[in-house]
Amino acid sequence: MRKRTAAAQAQPTVSGLRMDENASPLSVLVVEDDAELAQLLAEQLGAAGYQVEIEADGRAAIDLVAVRPFDVILLDRMLPAIDGVDVLKRLRREQVDVPVILLTALGRLAERVEGLDAGADDYIVKPFEIDELVARIRTVLRRRVSPNADNSTVSAGDVTVSLLRHRVTRAGQPIELHKTEIKLLAELVRAAGSVVTRAMLLEKVWGYDFVPTTNIVDAYIRRVRLKLEVPGLPDPIATVRGVGYMFRG
C-alpha cells in the first residue's frame, strides 16, 4: 500500500503548528502496517505541513528509501515479515542516515535501548500526541542540521537564556530564575515556534521518564510566566491545551 498525501490538500492548522507556506514541505515516510493509524498520521502530518508517504511493509520501505530521499522516516517497530528494528539496521548498514523515529507500542527500557542502539534518532511510544511527534521531528531535524551547535545560550524573541551563566534577560532586563526554571525556559526557547509536550519537558528538564499525577510542569510554567512578566509586553509562553507549551518567539 502506498499513498501520497499532499500537504496542500490536508486540513489546515493543528494547534498552530502549520509550517511556513513558502518553504518547500519536508518529506516524511511513515512505515506503519495499521492502515487506519497510518492514514490518520498522514492526515495530521499533512495538516502540519509535511509531505507524507505511507509504506506498510518493511522490505518495500527499504527499497523505497534506496531510490527516493526523505527528510524523516517514522518507523513502526512491529511490522509484518521484517521487524522495524531490522529495517532500521539494514538502512544504517546501507549508509542511509535519514533521521529515523521509531513509533512503537513496545515501551520497555530494553526495547527503547535496542531501538536507539540500532540507530534510531528518537523513540516514541504509542499512543502519542501528534504535536509531540511534530516537535520531536523538528528536534531530530535540528540536531541533524547543527549537531555541534553551542546550546549553552539560546534566544528567541526578546528572551535570552544563558545556561552556563545562569542568566536570563527579557528585553535586555535581567530576570531572576531558579536553576530548574532556567532549564525549563531554555527548552521552550530552544524549540521556539514548536509545541513542547509536558512529557518532553519532564524528560529534558527533570530527567523523568514518567508523567507524574500532579502538574509539576504547569506549576513551574506559572512561576516562570510570573517572573517573565514585563508591563506592556505580551506573555511569551503559549499554552497548547491538553498538550503542552510553545514559546512564541
Binding site: 486540513q11 492548522t13 493543528v14 494547534s15 495499521d34 487506519e36 493509524l37 490518520l40 498520521l41 492526515e43 495530521q44 495538516a47 512491529m78 507500542a105 513496545l106 515501551g107 520497555r108 527500557l109 530494553a110 511510544v125 504509542k126 499512543p127 502519542f128 500526541e129 501528534i130 530548574t180 527533570w206 530527567g207 523523568y208 521518564d209 514518567f210 508523567v211 507524574p212 499525577t213 500532579t214 502538574n215 509539576i216 506549576a219 513551574y220 506559572r222 512561576r223 491545551r241 491538553g242
Partner: protein, 444 residues
Amino acid sequence: MPLRSLRAMVIAFIAMLSLATLLTAAAVYFALMGAIDVQVDKRLEREAAELLEGNPPVAQLVERIAGEMRRRDSADIGFLLRAPDGKHLAGNIVLPAPVPPGISTIGKEQGIAGLTRGQALLTRLPGGAALTLVAESEPIEHHDAQRLRILAAGFGTILLLLIAGTWALSRAITARIDRLRTTAESIVDGDMQARVPIDGLGGPFERQAEAFNHMLDRIDALMVSLTGISNDIAHDLRTPLARLHGRIQALAVRPEAEAVRGEIEALAAQNGEILQMFAAILRITEVEGGDRRALFARIDLGDLIEEAGAALDPVIEESGHVLTIAPGEPLAVEGDARLLAQALVNLIENAVNHTPPGTRITLGVRRHGDLARLTVRDDGPGIPEEARTHALRRFGRLEASRNRPGHGLGLPLVQAIARLHHGTLELADAAPGLAVHLDLPLVP
C-alpha cells in the same frame, strides 16, 4: 541456638556420640580389668585349695609352699605364711600392709618388686596362721597404660570417623540447601532462568532439585505467558487507543466541532486517563521484570530527596501544603535514579493528593541498621492499620480516596521499585498522619 537448626543438630549429635563412645570405652576398659581380676582370683583360689588340701599341719604347709615356689607354673604367684603372732613362716613375699581376709586388690603400696597391681587372697588357717597368696593382674609393665592407649586409639578412630562423617553429611546437606537458596534468590532478583544444578548422582536430593527446577520451569512458562499477554495488550490495545487518540485530536481541530468542544475535550481527558493507567500497569510490569537493573548506579539519597522536593515545590505550594526536608547524613544506594525519583515523587504526590491543605509533609533519609530509610511523613488523616495492606494492592483504593485522582497503582509501583532495589515499602502510623518508609540496602 534452637535444636531445629542443622548446625545445632550436628553439634548435639556429635556431642552425644562422643559421650556414648567415651562411656563405651570406659565400660570396655573396666570390663576388661574385671575379667582379668576374676581370672586371677580363680587362679589364687585354685592354688590355695591345692595348698590347703586335706588341712595339712603348718610344717607340711611350709613344705608344700616351698615346693610350689620351685614349680615353674606357679612361679608368678607370691606366697606368704604367717604364724598367728605375725611371724614369717614361709613364702617369697613380704606384705608391709595387712590385707583383709578373702580376696582383695593390692597395688604398689605393698612394695612388692615388679608388682604394680595384683590380687591377694588371705586365708585364715584353723590354728590362727594366715596364708596369703598374691598374683599380678598386670603381667606386663605399664600394661594398663597400653590397654588405655589401644582403647583410646580404637574408640578415638571410631569417634573421628563419626565426626568426619557427620560433618561431611552436614556439608553435603548444607551445599544442597545453598544451591536451592541461591537459585531461589536469583529468581527473586528477577533471573527467571536460574535453576538448581543437577549432578546426575541420583538420590533424594537430585529428585528434590529436579522437582524444584520443574516447578521453576512451570512458573517461568506462566510468567512468559503473562508477559506475552502484557506485550499483546501493549500492542493490540495501544494501537486502537492511539487511533482513538488521533481521531479525537483530528476532530477537535475541525471548525464544525466548535459546538461540542467541551465534550471532545472530556473524551480526550478520559482517554488520557485510560492511557495513564495503562502506562502505570506496563511500568509495574517493566520494573518487576528486572531489566532496569542494568542501569543501576550509585545514587546519593540526600540529592534525590532534594531534587524530588524541589521538583514538587510549586505543586505543594499551590495545593496549600507545607514541605520540609529533614536534615540527614550522606547515604548512597545502588539503583536506577529515574525509578527512585519516580518512587519518591509518587509518595510525595500521594501525600499531596490525599491530605487536606495545610498538611505538613516531611522528607527525610537516615540510616536504619544496614539500610537507608527514605521517609515521606505527613500529619494528615493517615491510613488505618487494617487498610494499609489493601492500599499496597494494585487498584487497591481506599474508600476515603475514591473521589481523588489516581488509580490505586502509585503505591504498588513504589513497592515494585523497592523490590527491584532489594528494599521494602512500609506504611506506618506517624501519629498523627502517615509515614511511608522506603528501606534500601546501603552501599559503602
